[in-house]
Subunit: 309 residues, 2 copies
């Protein structure tokens, strides 16, 4: 539904020099008073992003900021300040607000985010948290979805899949990793893996007008992906979960082959870096066709799957 | 509840040079990359700010932006760009999103606001809209709540009370008026009247460490305040509604007496300007005691009443 709405909106919104990216990336870049500010908003809601009946409010509060930090990481931007808007169920609102904050504040401190303001309301509905995060672009400029080129290799940080078993709350947004990589390597495109590797890869390919070939055997599959598959016992595989679960909040990057090979050899980041495939020339109307290649060399189309808003 | 939460939060938040106002005004001022950006967020929700069963989505979308424009007007800041986060009931989400936008977009265009991004979700809950608005401070600097001095007179724009009869949706945020006044007059303090004249006046007095004397006979009472009192038939008066209804989204300003007298004589704004009283020396612990003075000169305490979040 979000995709269809954005398409409809994209045809109506006038182009504006103050928001040169339009609605096309993880965060917006605003030209404010001659200064480029990166900003992003995410609204987390009961039943979609958490369940108050089973998730501690501290973890929910932490997640509300962490997902926005992940969006800034995707742009290789430095976080600066946040606004927090809460809409709380009336019953126990104050105690809930305090517990959300107790989870959010330490993460804000860790990433140097000033909590600058917000809005706090109560209503006869479930909990909704909207965090707006501001950051600044480094000298390297913002990392966009649209810069991938045929021949680039695809890199991911960390391990993927099975985030429902806890990672969806406890992940570390890859802000430091993104800033380090942007400073030390030539990055062509990036996105954070919020909705599923194959779906988010498709978005990068769409924005860049390229296709992609994914080596399934090289995808770093998290142990939790296998555990989650076993728990579901629905015939799904750990690899399928790594390709489509989402909420990994790792980085997917496109960059030149040699620099990527060197990075993977050196492994400068504690979370790990893996090459999972490469960008290929676009084909067909959308130009963003995805392919998968198995360990035996056989190829087949990769269908983008993941969480659709 | 919001007030108690902000008090609790204020004791915990570390002071931060990047957000010098703390949580004390209508909008936050961020020091981003050496540039001052004014930003504010408001979350509007079903049952609190609108009723989807009786209010057109176009009016709701318009209001979601308008209340934020009013917050920037309160700071005498120039609007620049907005992010819109929607959480929509699943049933009919796309059609609702489009209608909200159809109401919001013309107001954005009228006030030169670039719609730069957002977040769109669906859930099994009611409609919630969170708009984050960015603006820039003019050369005059931001207008704050905290600058009122004893001897200043209190001015309001427009008419007050009875906003429930339609004004709560159809008001024009006083952005142009605030910018004009900030350029042509010496303003000491300002706030937008979102929660009720007496309550918002009390906030200005608290922030400034002054008291206030309100001449009840000089308050510009809207015709709708009398209509609303008649409709309620609960013994309330039009004046009481002007003092406490809220959602007037007019400006309350504190400024030097002579400049105010000249403005009221000249009436440069189509919405009208009225002197409604004056700031007096603070008294007692809170220093922000409010008084009312009737047409016959009799005085009594004015109890701050309005909408408490």
């Amino acid at each position: 539904m979000e995709l269809e709405f954005l398409r409809w909106l994209g045809e109506r919104l006038p182009a504006d020099v103050r928001a040169p990216l339009g609605l096309r990336d993880d965060a917006a870049i605003l030209e404010l008073s001659g200064q480029r500010v990166v900003t992003t908003v995410d609204m987390l809601t009961e039943g979609v992003d958490f369940l108050l009946s089973q998730d501690d409010p501290e973890r929910i509060g932490r997640k509300a900021l962490a997902v926005n930090l992940s969006d800034l990481a995707a742009m290789a931007a430095r976080p600066l300040a946040a606004l927090v808007a809460l809409t709380l169920p009336r019953e126990g609102a104050l105690s809930l607000a305090k517990r959300l904050y107790e989870g959010l504040a330490p993460l804000a401190e860790e990433f140097g985010v000033a909590l600058a303001g917000g809005d706090t309301n109560t209503w006869d509905g479930p909990l909704a948290i909207s965090v707006t995060l501001f950051g600044e672009v480094t000298e390297r400029g913002p990392l966009l979805r649209s810069g991938a080129r045929p021949g680039d290799v695809l890199l991911v940080t960390g391990q993927l899949g099975g985030s429902r078993l806890g990672h969806q709350f406890d992940f570390t947004p890859r802000v430091r990793e993104a800033l380090w990589l942007a400073e030390h390597a030539e990055l062509h495109a990036g996105i954070d893996l919020s909705d599923g590797l194959s779906l988010d890869l498709w978005r990068v390919c769409q924005a860049s007008g390229v296709g992609a070939m994914v080596d399934t055997s090289r995808i770093p599959v998290a142990d939790d992906a296998a555990r989650w598959a076993a728990q579901l016992a629905d015939g799904s595989t750990a690899l399928e979960h790594a390709l489509a679960d989402g909420e990994d909040f790792e980085l997917l990057l496109a960059m030149p082959r040699e620099a990527a090979a060197e990075l993977v050899k050196e492994q400068p980041l504690a979370c790990g870096l893996s090459i999972i495939g490469e960008c290929v020339a676009g084909e067909g109307a959308g130009k963003s066709r995805l392919w998968r290649r198995e360990a035996d060399g056989s190829r087949s189309p990769l269908v983008p799957r993941g969480y659709e808003h």
